[in-house]
């Protein structure tokens, strides 16, 4: 197993994702290239099938796209569908 290829990513879960995961934040080491990859490897945690455009993602406090690249040490925020107002 090539651990050198793995990145350390902090993942933060919000609202329903947090309740489903049972934690607000965790740090994982995984072989991920994009925000979408992070969504996939944490699927069992947040419980959602696919981002499908309704979920949103931010990287280091900036709104991002699902195909945005993630770097070692990034914090990825996983947002379930919003409902403000």
């Amino acid at each position: 197993m090539n651990t050198a290829a793995k990145k350390t990513i902090t993942v933060r879960y919000f609202a329903m994702f947090r309740e489903h995961a049972g934690v607000a934040e965790e740090t994982l080491q995984a072989d991920v290239a994009t925000a979408h990859d992070v969504f996939e490897v944490t699927r069992a945690r947040h419980g959602s099938e696919e981002p499908n455009g309704h979920c949103k993602v931010a990287i280091n406090d900036h709104m991002a796209d699902w195909d945005s690249p993630v770097s070692d040490g990034d914090t990825v925020l996983l947002f379930p569908p919003v409902a403000g107002g």
Binding site: M16, H54, P81, V82, A83
Partner: protein, 145 residues
């Protein structure tokens, strides 16, 4: 200016902060917690927000509105925490020289606030259940089921 607060929103104080002698029109919108949603009797609502991105995204929305509908002053406040029926969850106030810009900017702001800010609401129903709005089908085995 965009704000997120845990305290009750005070529309009168907010409105006073927008006073401008060149203003001829003031349009405000408030989102209130109502007692029903999609057939469920709602007893209270719990709002959660990720404040850092609410602020940056909210400021973007206000700037976009000003670009399209030049106004003099505008402010938006979103409340978080546990809210009761009738409580104000979001307040938006816009003042402009004439009424058209105030109405249009105010409408633009609330429309975008609702879909772009990282804010979530959990409804607590009369029967004891609860559910995250817009989210019931987004999780395989939702806690809200």
């Amino acid at each position: 200016m965009m704000e997120v607060t845990q305290k009750a929103i005070d529309p009168a104080a907010l409105q006073r902060s927008l006073a401008n002698p060149a203003a001829g029109g003031y349009c405000a919108f408030e989102g209130w917690v109502r007692n029903e949603n999609e057939g469920h009797v709602v007893e209270r609502l719990e709002y959660e927000a990720y404040e850092p991105l609410c602020l940056t995204e909210g400021e973007k929305v206000l700037a976009e509105a000003k670009e399209m509908f030049p106004y003099l002053e505008a402010r938006c406040v979103h409340r978080v925490g546990l809210l009761e029926i009738g409580d104000c969850a979001v307040w938006i106030g816009v003042v402009s020289a004439h009424r058209d810009e105030a109405f249009k900017a105010c409408r633009y702001i609330i429309d975008k606030i609702k879909v772009r800010l990282p804010v979530w609401k959990k409804e607590h129903y009369a029967n004891g259940d609860s559910g995250w709005v817009n989210c019931e089908r987004c999780v395989q085995h939702g806690i809200a089921d």
